[in-house]
Symmetry: C2
Subunit: 222 residues, 2 copies
């Protein structure tokens, strides 16, 4: 059975969980507490981070970028990057936008700072960092709103890994009730469509020990 080592509020893990569900690939999710530095886990990924994917044949693939590209290569249908090189370039640009820029400016400031930082032995949350994340998120939600207004889905007419990646990050932040949806109705409409996809079900059922999700976290009509 395919196995995915993940952590609940790791956006990179959520991206792969969503991708596996969209491609209808069965897998066993295993929660990895990376701060325990489990030798068996570190031997699979020297970087010590989730996600790590283990194929049926035992092949180990570490890091969200190689896993996503691998899944698209081997299990092409339905395509999640796009069916032309131009479309794939645009999807990948937005995947990078959310995994790099959004992560650095928003997800890390809010999710890592509030949940993982203490577990990693890096002290308590810094209110200045959290405030920066709360400020930065507005520009990104406005960008999502602009994109879906032009294109229906983030990278074009079709649902893609860009939508999955953005929603993976936002769902972690939404769990903590830190997404100002009321100020961004276009982004909210897009996220409502994301939440109603069957692939999103498992994500919405996550319960992180010691952290209660926002009251509306599971609601499809929020």
């Amino acid at each position: 059975m395919r196995t995915l080592y993940h952590y609940w509020l790791c956006p990179f893990s959520r991206k792969i969980r969503l991708m596996l569900h969209e491609k209808k690939l069965e897998f066993q999710p295993v929660v990895e507490r990376i701060w325990e530095h489990r030798p068996q886990f570190v031997s699979m990924n020297p970087e010590g981070l989730t996600p790590v994917f283990v194929e049926d044949d035992g092949k180990v693939i570490a890091n969200g970028y190689p896993i996503a590209e691998y899944l698209e290569e081997i299990y092409y249908d339905p395509p999640l990057l796009g069916d032309t090189s131009t479309q794939r370039a645009e999807t990948r640009r937005l995947v990078a936008w959310f995994d790099e820029k959004f992560n650095m400016e928003v997800t890390h400031n809010l999710v890592f700072e509030k949940t993982m930082k203490r577990k990693m032995g890096l002290g308590g949350p810094d209110s200045g960092v959290i405030r920066a994340g709360q400020t930065n998120i507005h520009d990104h939600l406005a960008y999502i709103g602009w994109l879906v207004d032009q294109r229906n889905w983030l990278s074009g007419h079709h649902f893609s890994l860009a939508d999955i990646t953005a929603a993976a990050h936002l769902s972690c932040i939404d769990y903590l009730d830190n997404v100002p949806w009321d100020k961004h109705p276009e982004a909210k409409e897009w996220y409502t469509r994301m939440k109603s996809r069957p692939s999103f079900r498992a994500i919405l059922q996550d319960t992180v020990p010691g952290i209660t999700p926002a009251a509306h976290y599971m609601d499809l009509d929020f």
Copy 2:
């Protein structure tokens, strides 16, 4: 003519420059000073960062990850990711290692801090950040040494985008004379091999206005 908008000490731009040379694709390099926020450039890449690649037919591809994947898709020969899905996953794992982890722990602390930060209006260099980069680089050079001892090239028996990516970052740091080569002979031997590749020539001839390269920067025997 294909065009690459790049900046001399941008490791992501250097990766694409090296990749284009390895694939023997002619292109016109254009230096982009991203801190000028040129509207025409921002319209090509809303993130406002280098590299941006413009194809012969006018197609625009922004960000190092989509450009690299596009070049490998369209101009496959010579393959730089690998010829099996397992090999490609390992190459991409190491590309992510250097573009994400190494960049965050080393390149950003040394190159951005010393050169770009002031241009971006973010104040002068922080000596604590620079010291952290100088400390962190040792573990990475040791990892490179370990990999090439096991495998000849970083991701396996063949030269790949992993070597290109690692060398793109290290060459920026070497320009500033901040790589402790004397403590890491295995990594130095590998970098000597990289420097002697024809694709590296243009990189070694870079001269950044106002920043003199290290005395040994261009030497193949350093």
